[in-house]
Symmetry: D2
Subunit: 353 residues, 4 copies
Amino acid sequence: MFNSFGNILKLTTFGESHGTAIGGIIDGFPAGLKVNFKEIQEELNRRKPGQSKIVTQRKEPDTVEFLSGIFKGITTGTSIGFIIKNTNQKSKDYSHNTDVYRPSHADFTYDKKYGIRDYKGGGRTSARETANWVVAGALAKQLISDININAFTSSVGDILINKPYQELDFSKIENNIVRCPDEKSAEKMISKIKEIKKLGDTIGGTITCVVQNIPVGLGEPIFNKLHAELGKAMLSINAVKGFEFGSGFSGTKMKGSEHNDIFSENGTTKTNLSGGIQGGISNGMDIHFRVAFKPVATIMQNQTTINSKGEITNIDGKGRHDPCVVPRAVPIVEAMTALVLADFWLINKTRKL
Amino acid sequence: MFNSFGNILKLTTFGESHGTAIGGIIDGFPAGLKVNFKEIQEELNRRKPGQSKIVTQRKEPDTVEFLSGIFKGITTGTSIGFIIKNTNQKSKDYSHNTDVYRPSHADFTYDKKYGIRDYKGGGRTSARETANWVVAGALAKQLISDININAFTSSVGDILINKPYQELDFSKIENNIVRCPDEKSAEKMISKIKEIKKLGDTIGGTITCVVQNIPVGLGEPIFNKLHAELGKAMLSINAVKGFEFGSGFSGTKMKGSEHNDIFSENGTTKTNLSGGIQGGISNGMDIHFRVAFKPVATIMQNQTTINSKGEITNIDGKGRHDPCVVPRAVPIVEAMTALVLADFWLINKTRKL
Amino acid sequence: MFNSFGNILKLTTFGESHGTAIGGIIDGFPAGLKVNFKEIQEELNRRKPGQSKIVTQRKEPDTVEFLSGIFKGITTGTSIGFIIKNTNQKSKDYSHNTDVYRPSHADFTYDKKYGIRDYKGGGRTSARETANWVVAGALAKQLISDININAFTSSVGDILINKPYQELDFSKIENNIVRCPDEKSAEKMISKIKEIKKLGDTIGGTITCVVQNIPVGLGEPIFNKLHAELGKAMLSINAVKGFEFGSGFSGTKMKGSEHNDIFSENGTTKTNLSGGIQGGISNGMDIHFRVAFKPVATIMQNQTTINSKGEITNIDGKGRHDPCVVPRAVPIVEAMTALVLADFWLINKTRKL
Amino acid sequence: MFNSFGNILKLTTFGESHGTAIGGIIDGFPAGLKVNFKEIQEELNRRKPGQSKIVTQRKEPDTVEFLSGIFKGITTGTSIGFIIKNTNQKSKDYSHNTDVYRPSHADFTYDKKYGIRDYKGGGRTSARETANWVVAGALAKQLISDININAFTSSVGDILINKPYQELDFSKIENNIVRCPDEKSAEKMISKIKEIKKLGDTIGGTITCVVQNIPVGLGEPIFNKLHAELGKAMLSINAVKGFEFGSGFSGTKMKGSEHNDIFSENGTTKTNLSGGIQGGISNGMDIHFRVAFKPVATIMQNQTTINSKGEITNIDGKGRHDPCVVPRAVPIVEAMTALVLADFWLINKTRKL
């Protein structure tokens, strides 16, 4: 519990935003994989701050150092330890926050729960933690390299792609800084974020993730259903408020006769309102789901709040923060998806004689 | 993994729809609770088939028998074993289904994954399993009896309650058979379900759950966030396609300056778009979330489908099924919520010196 | 934790000695095994009371009923629930014990830990629980049927077999009621137990277990070493006080030059002081270990003790108890060994690409 | 599984002998402990190489660096990450071993299991890993500082302390380099080890551990019995071949009437053959157990062995190794004991209303 994710393939992490380093241990990774280190770093680069004008302007190289579990470039089956050094520890920036509870942050809940809180840069609650997840997810991707995982920004505020994902070209996701494969929508989203940023405000959005070329049989009933684990994984990401797969919330308005996915002779289905999962198990069709991100709580505006004594005080937005977390969350969604799928892929090797 | 749920308080279950009995083991339940058996049976009665005209007309008493872990009416700290006998095993009803893959059921995925499948009444995939969860959840409720958990039907198809939950009277939830505390909406929902049933069709809907009087501090970052575990719990329920808490998907369209919950001096917040959870930890405000249920896949209509040889065949809807699963799912949502909260309540006893 | 054993293949149990039934859930068992029910019942018969003159004279049929997870005689991959009804619930026998702490039993510790205790027949602490383990172990044996697991009584009190196990014929283990394959030692052991029984006393002993035809590679460093899990499994059995494998405690007196097992060209070793395990992983040689059982605490003699108020009182041995637990523990040792090995066998399917 | 130990308080580790660093993550540690860093380093110093003439002459400072989870010297309840840099990576020393299977090492089993093996200094199988355990154990000791844990060398080869532990003065354990509180035995042990070292050979021994001032109620039946977890913990230590507690193997020769521990009015027992544990739960008496260590497999002599192709070859002992592992294992035994007890101490907070 607490800081571990997964069953056989398990990631355990540590690290505060302003400590020496963050890092993790990947356990249960099978022996024999030739690691592509460049791809791992590229995934980290997709997540890192300072990569474009619509994300936080902090500069952090986010370079991962592997400390164990890989010998001559090949995984050995032992635990893979890694760290990412924190190079941008401007603790001074946060000195004014030591005793103030920022609205809609975890300052209040951490203080009440633990009686102590690392107030520098959010401490353990910082989304910097997700860099660890991207490392582990990038390795997981290499383990299940036949499976294609593509996440993209599907909405920013009220600007959304008005097309089914089948009409999108996933190779275009990285063509723009908002990571939206529909160019026209991308432009609007970028404008929206720039405008919001000027106001010192932030905006929410959604990410859609599509998993293709997935084998039938991944996922474990009753309590490790594939979509339940994916949901848990997504809801673990900072700022996420919702998860739906297949027909999702809109499916609640449908009739069974409309919603049922009729089989073709080859075992595929003519529609895919099930979202590639039936009874918690992948059926070989595309898995597709949608993740809701709230607007970032840190805004560059003055807000009224309280301190630990319950006194009313004011807080000014300072520092360099994301006006919209969605573009940088795209690789995080993919990483967590890869972790879930790789874990189930390993588990599945044990489920049938 | 597989058939267990929870960390310290752990439910492990077994049972097929048409076996002798289903049942489970509740582990980690603390010693010293005087069990109210009547309340447990009442929760089961809320879930059981045949309770009203808008649910399946199968008749099953769903009587739980506790086999261990309770001595003279008090929990002993040892594992609590229980069974619910299956009294309604009309296996003949399903003989025509032995080799047919029902659309949007798990027949196909189970067969491919395991190479074998208990085709009687859905076997392990039957929602009958959730009776086990209601037993465990009813016990969990008694463990955290200060916390109030109220779930209710918030929409059926496109009929939804058009009020914030604060304007609803939860004591009216059980006043009608659809379990909607808003009487006018309830009437419409019941009519809708009756109409759908006549067509031999089914309809989806949503359940809203509100948790009140919850202590600050439940939930564990990083990978056991309170909302992530609630989400996983809800997504484990049959037919669920989505989960959102607090502002949910609608929060993605908001600005940070609108979405932030400003503190009052006493540590409560003036709004509650956070849904009672910040950084994965309860903040003492109401927890509220919404669960999406698709329409039941079994319809009383003729459908084209395939069999295990990949041959096209037809399937007729037979038997007694729910036209809308939502009313009977209300106690299931509450039960799973109680399990999650009771587990975190126990964990929380270990998190601070 | 608590009432579960295993990682992928996991047994969770419940049951008090004098409740309606004991039972368990076997999770993670792969689909596709044709179950030999007769073999399972035979293993239970080896453990059951009343089977010979040197064990307790209680009569209990110990018939297992499988409730789920097996369809048409074949495992389905879903959880396997089972119960064993308690048919011999002479609760009256124990009425004099309700408030007395029997020496070297768990009455005192349970009362202090939980504040409540089922005093009938030892409640949850009764070795009756191990019947559940034998059921699960018998199934596990069928999963890894190529591996041979033979346990036998190697000593009773100071009577021990004075031969290396290689000189014993395991097919003779069941030829006598003490389960010792060396006939001369067996006779002495039986006489010893009968003599002890006449005194109203009890006696300890050891069981040796030998695992043959085991593949190389079972066991997981660092914290799931094969011998560490076997040790934990054995130490879970009632009355066990010690565990050693390979050279064990006698190896502590040896020099490295004597103790090292030199390889032959085919990868086997000329000696086997390692006990078939190196670095926590099976090396293909026989695994052999020894388990120490203390004398049963319940004796047919008058003993001074205290009650829950700390008052000195007397306790008379009553009821029907084992003068030596070792003969009936032989199938339990095998069952727990099988569970450990089957779990590692499944895990091993995930450890190498 | 694999590289994690513990339930609520969980240690997960990584690291090869000759990588950049080893390290670990301690999860579930409660918030609010003021950490004594000096004591942690002192425990590491007790384990480190080069500390005396009877241990390996390698020089490694073994300095621990905490990377997270501690803020202003106080634990925050978040995961505690730490590393210990490897400063003594003489990889050249091992170049001759790349393809040779050292007798009674894990080279053969790792190669067969994983298909790849880090051959430098034993890779993951090196006892260097136990430095991680000492760090975590030293923190655990501070969490349960009322409980006294003392381990000591109780035998080297056939030289053993001929006194019950009650006659020993634990404050003398650190007075000599073999960590034996009985000075006369200590001298003999030291001479023995020096003599063995001259021969280029190694010798086994035992460690006794005594836990005092322990509360009643630690330990969890059925499968987390206190002694079963202690046994597993000890059997996880490199070179351990056996574990016994209380009367241990010698108890197998006793009668029940001799072995039963009779209560005094205050709930203590007049004897303590139970070793402080009854039914898997501490009864408040001293816990005492004994751990068997085989002679180190690396000897400074020429041995015949095989390589990965199954060819006979020779291996010369090289490098700087321990002639007897026992003195340096004393702090490791204490560390693992502390981890087990601290975990149960936390769990126990959840077991009774």
